[in-house]
């Protein structure tokens, strides 16, 4: 099952990119002033309002044509799996980043404004304030929706078959075309996706439990 390997590495690689870029863009959107919040909005609206498949084609077909000829040729001549894998990785990573950015922004904005005031009153700079105070809390808030996104990224890897990456779904199609055992080919792959979804959910569920903060039974003090 080589296809499974490509599906998993594409999903996990893109997830890493998405977490990093998504967090940065999400934070940028919550900054009080300057150009960054606007740039963040442009990023999110662009990547959210164009279908993933069209973005896939953009990275694979269009970008090499727009770059200087030398660079474009170098990209087109990458060896087979990488020539599809790298554009797919960038595409899926940046696409998912826009969705994570929205969640991070919502998480930060859900925090009471007093948290930001308290951190500034203690002399924290903006970087430390986000890193130590706001983001750790925001991520706890958005963990459930993040779980959804993590499960979605495995499904979205299938779009990479359109630019020639032989991942899980493409494997099923190939087996079907070569053997005509339609039911078996697609059946096995469907089950594999189910198992992946279950595992992804398990992983996130464990993280959620580990990140849970202790609280007083029965509520405790409400400020």
């Amino acid at each position: 099952m080589n296809g499974l390997g490509w599906t998993l590495s594409l999903a996990l690689g893109a997830w890493t990119i998405a977490l990093i870029v998504g967090t940065l863009v999400g934070v940028a959107r919550t900054l009080p002033r300057g150009i960054l919040p606007r740039l963040g909005r442009v990023y999110v609206e662009t990547f959210r309002n164009i279908p993933l498949l069209v973005q896939m084609f953009f990275w694979y077909f269009v970008l090499p044509e727009l770059l200087p000829v030398r660079v474009g040729m170098a990209i087109k001549q990458m060896d087979p799996p990488w020539g599809s894998f790298v554009p797919a990785l960038i595409c899926l990573g940046l696409f998912t980043a826009a969705r994570i950015a929205e969640q991070v922004r919502a998480g930060i904005q859900a925090l009471p404004s007093g948290q930001m005031q308290a951190a500034s009153a203690l002399g924290f700079g903006q970087g430390n304030m986000y890193r130590l105070i706001l983001l750790p809390q925001a991520f706890r808030i958005i963990l459930p929706t993040l779980t959804n996104e993590f499960m979605t990224i495995f499904k979205n890897t299938s779009v990479a078959l359109t630019i020639g990456l032989v991942e899980l779904t493409a494997t099923a199609r190939e087996i079907n075309e070569n053997t005509f055992r339609t039911f078996e080919a697609f059946g096995v792959v469907t089950i594999v996706y189910l198992v992946i979804a279950l595992l992804a959910w398990q992983i996130m569920h464990r993280i959620e439990r580990a990140a849970q903060l202790p609280a007083l039974a029965g509520g405790g003090a409400r400020p």
Binding site: P112, G114, Q115, Q117, A118, A119, S120, A121, L122, G123, F124, G125, N128, L132, I133, P136, Q137, R140, L213, P214, A215, L216, G220, A221, R222, P223
Partner: protein, 242 residues
Amino acid sequence: MIEINSVSKSYGSFQVLKNCSASIARGEVVVICGPSGSGKSTLIKTVNGLETIDSGEINVGGFRLAPEVTNVAALRRSVGMVFQSFELFPHLTVLSNVTIAQTKVLKRSKAAAEEKARSLLARVGLSAHIAKHPAQLSGGQQQRVAIARALALDPEVMLFDEPTSALDPEMVNEVLDVMTGLARQGMTMVCVTHEMGFARSVANRVLFMDGGEIVETAAAAAFFDAPRSERAKAFLAKILKH
């Protein structure tokens, strides 16, 4: 220690602070009181730059704050602040709440910061709770942690913004006791509060605000026994009825 000179501030067309001036000496305890919406909280937050000002200037221990001054990091290190809703960091333990600014802002070593935190937490009577998270504490305990957190940076001034308003009545005293102790040790304190008993027994002076103005400044005893302005009389009559 603190000089507030002709400070004004507006939100759009609404003027929250109108030409406020006050002077607070080192070691003095000043209570700011007045009806809600009078600008008390806004005024106290201008002192450490949490609220910007439109005109005038503020001097805190040699640091000059004016509308155009934006870098207030140095000021905040010497001014501690306690909030109405505590604002402890819920994802950190009690001990980390008190150490984090020491290590990240003042760059103290972890060991030194923890030692300081333990002694401060002992001082506010919370030694038994240092490993807990804020949500596991009562409101009064949380506010005492917040005081320890502010003291950990060795501030020269402590600001209190209605520190007991969010507390159940039975927890008010434990927080006021800590504040009283602090005043007795000579801390310069500015407190926005409705606790008139505390104001009368601990404060040196009272600033009475109404409608964004500082209407009256008087020694605590004089203010309660013989308020000069009509507005202060009306306010006291209302508040002392309860």
